[in-house]
C-alpha cells in the first residue's frame, strides 16, 4: 500500500487563554484519531516540528547561503506531519479528513510518497 504524508499547515496562534480542560479535549481528539489509525495499521509515523522556523539553505553556484526560516513572521508554518498508509488518494483524503488539525484552523497538504521499488 502506498504511503501518504500529511503536512499540517497552521497559523501560529496565541493559546494562552485556553483552559486546561479545553487543552485536554484537543489532545484527546488527536489521541483518539491516531489510536484509531494505529489500530487499522494505517499509521506509519508522525513528528512535531519545532516552532522556531528552522533554516533555509540556498545554493549559489558552488556556494550556499543559510538564512533563518521565515516562520517567525510568516502567517503560516508546517507544524508537523503524519505518514499514513492508504490504497489511493481518495482513501488517504478520507483518513486525513478525520484529523482534528482541520477542526482547529489548520489545513493539510496531502502528498503521496514515491515508492522506490
Amino acid at each position: 500500500m502506498p504511503n501518504y504524508m500529511l503536512l499540517l499547515h497552521e497559523q501560529p496562534s496565541d493559546f494562552s487563554g485556553l483552559s486546561p480542560e479545553a487543552i485536554e479535549a484537543v489532545i484527546n481528539e488527536y489521541v483518539a484519531w491516531s489510536a484509531k489509525l494505529a489500530s487499522e495499521n494505517r499509521l506509519v509515523g508522525g513528528e512535531k516540528l519545532r516552532d522556531e522556523g528552522g533554516k533555509h539553505l540556498h545554493g549559489f553556484g558552488g556556494e550556499f547561503r543559510v538564512s533563518d526560516g521565515p516562520y517567525t513572521e510568516a502567517k503560516e508554518i508546517v507544524g508537523g506531519f503524519y505518514t499514513i498508509a492508504a490504497a489511493d488518494y481518495n482513501e488517504a483524503a478520507e483518513v486525513a479528513s478525520g484529523c482534528p488539525h482541520l477542526k482547529y484552523g489548520g489545513w493539510i497538504e496531502l502528498r503521496e510518497i514515491e515508492q522506490m521499488s
Partner: protein, 417 residues
C-alpha cells in the same frame, strides 16, 4: 512515538494537574511567584497540546511538571533572578520515562491542601476565595468561572488579580502538618467548599457542564481534606456527605430540554446511587465524636431525600426536625421557605400557607422570587389557581434566570389548563 500509551490520558487530568502543579511549584519557588508559576503551567499544557498529538510521553504527569518547572527556572533566570542551587536540588529531575507515579506529587495532595488553606487566608477577601480556589487549586479558567458565576470574564479576572496580589504579598506557603492557626482556618475552607458546591448545584442558569464540574471539584477537595489526618474531622465528613447526597441527584435534575425537573417528578432511576452510598459512608463517619454542626443537619436532610425509596415515602418528620434545629441555631428566611415546604407535606398546605403569610406579613420578601414561587406552589396545591397564577407571574417578573423562568411559564400554563 508510542501509541499504546495514549490511553493513559484520563479525564480532567489537565484541570487537576494544573492545580497540583501550581501548588507544588509555589511551595518550591515561593507563593510570591504565583503569577509566573501559573503562566509556566499554562505554557507547559500548551506545549503538551502541541506535542502530544505526535506521541504521548510515558509519564504524562511527570512530563508536564518537568516542563513547567523548567519554564519557571528559565523565566527567573531571564529576569536576572538567581535560582538557588538548593531550589534546583530539592527538585531533582523527574524521570519522565518512569511510569511510576511522580514522586513530586504527594498522593494525598499535600501541596494542594496547603494551597487551599492559602486561598482561604484572611488576607484574601471572603467573597473572592471561591473564585481564587477554583482558579488556583481547581484549574478552572477565567471564562469557566465567569460562566459558572453568571459573571463576565473581565469582572472575574479583576477579582482574581486583586486576590492574587493579596495572596502573594500577605501569605506564606502554609506548612503541613497545619499549625493551630492554620487549623482555625479550616472553617473558612469548608465555607469556601460549601459555596463552591452551591454555586454548581443552585438552580441558576449558568453553563450546566461547568457547574456540574464545580460540584465534583468541591467533592474532590473535601475528600482531599479527609485524607489528611489533621483535617479529617467529623464536620468535614458531614460536608462531604452533603455534597455526595446532593450530587447523586444531579443526573435527573434537568430533562433533555435542559428544563428543571422538580424533585417530586424526577426519574429516580437516574440518580447516582454509588455517589449516594459514598455520601452514606461519609455520613456514618461524621457521627464520630459528639459534634453536630449545621453541615451535619444539612447532610441529614439531603440524605433523607436521596435515600428515600420514593418521594411519597420520604421521611418528612425527620427532615422537618433537622430544619427546626437549623432554624433554632441560626434563623434564615430562605431556609424558612424550605422548612415550610416540608411542613406542608406533614401538616397540610393550609397550615404551611398561613405560617408563610404570618412570617412574611411585613412584605419584606414580596420582591423575592423564591418567596413568590413557594407561595404560588402552596396556593396551587390548595386549589386557589388564580392566586397561584398571580404569585407565579410576580415571580416571573423578579428573576432573569432562564431555567427558572421556563419552569414558571410551564407551571402557569398547567394552572390555566
Amino acid at each position: 512515538m508510542d501509541l499504546d500509551k495514549t490511553n493513559e490520558i484520563i479525564d480532567h487530568l489537565f484541570r487537576q494537574r494544573a492545580g497540583q502543579m501550581v501548588s507544588l511549584l509555589s511551595r518550591i519557588f515561593g507563593i510570591d511567584k504565583l503569577e509566573l508559576i501559573e503562566d509556566a503551567v499554562q505554557e507547559a499544557m500548551i506545549a503538551a497540546m502541541r506535542k502530544w498529538p505526535f506521541g504521548v510521553p510515558e509519564n504524562p504527569s511527570a512530563w508536564l511538571i518537568q516542563t513547567a518547572r523548567n519554564k519557571v527556572i528559565d523565566e527567573l533566570r531571564r529576569a536576572g533572578k538567581s535560582v538557588g542551587l538548593e531550589t534546583e536540588e530539592s527538585f531533582e529531575l523527574a524521570d519522565t520515562a518512569s511510569t511510576t507515579p511522580d514522586k513530586h506529587l504527594s498522593p494525598i495532595g499535600d501541596d494542594e491542601l496547603r494551597m487551599i488553606f492559602a486561598c482561604c487566608s484572611p488576607a484574601v477577601a471572603a467573597d473572592s476565595r471561591v473564585a481564587l480556589t477554583l482558579k488556583i487549586v481547581g484549574g478552572f479558567s477565567v471564562p469557566e468561572i465567569a460562566r459558572a458565576f453568571l459573571s463576565n470574564d473581565e469582572a472575574i479576572a479583576k477579582m482574581l488579580t486583586r486576590a492574587k496580589k493579596r495572596l502573594r504579598e500577605d501569605t506564606r506557603f502554609p506548612e503541613l502538618p497545619p499549625s493551630r492557626e492554620l487549623l482555625e482556618r479550616l472553617d473558612a475552607v469548608l465555607r469556601v467548599l460549601y459555596l463552591m458546591f452551591n454555586e454548581g448545584f443552585g438552580a441558576t442558569a449558568g453553563d450546566d457542564l461547568v457547574r456540574r464540574e464545580l460540584c465534583f471539584e468541591a467533592i474532590r477537595l473535601a475528600e482531599m481534606l479527609l485524607r489528611s489526618p489533621e483535617t479529617s474531622t467529623p464536620r468535614v465528613q458531614a460536608l462531604a456527605a452533603l455534597f455526595c447526597f446532593q450530587a447523586a441527584r444531579l443526573p435527573a435534575r434537568t430533562n433533555e430540554a435542559g428544563e428543571l425537573v422538580l424533585l417530586e417528578d424526577q426519574d429516580r432511576s437516574r440518580w447516582d446511587m454509588r455517589l449516594a452510598e459514598r455520601g452514606l459512608e461519609h455520613f456514618r463517619l461524621s457521627a464520630r465524636g459528639d459534634e453536630r454542626t449545621e453541615y451535619h443537619l444539612e447532610s441529614e436532610i439531603a440524605g433523607v431525600y436521596t435515600l428515600a425509596p420514593s418521594f411519597a415515602e420520604t421521611d418528612w418528620p425527620r427532615i422537618l426536625a433537622c430544619y427546626d434545629e437549623l432554624q433554632q441555631r441560626r434563623y434564615s428566611d430562605v431556609v424558612e421557605l424550605n422548612r415550610l415546604i416540608v411542613l406542608s407535606r406533614i401538616e397540610g398546605v393550609g397550615q404551611a400557607l398561613s405560617e408563610l403569610d404570618a412570617r412574611f406579613a411585613d412584605g419584606r420578601f414580596d420582591r423575592f422570587y423564591l418567596y413568590q414561587i413557594t407561595r404560588g406552589h402552596f396556593l396551587a396545591e390548595a386549589g386557589r389557581a388564580a392566586e397561584a397564577e398571580a404569585a407565579f407571574t410576580t415571580a416571573l417578573s423578579l428573576t432573569d434566570n432562564t431555567v427558572i423562568r421556563r419552569s414558571l411559564i410551564e407551571r402557569i400554563a398547567r394552572l390555566a389548563s
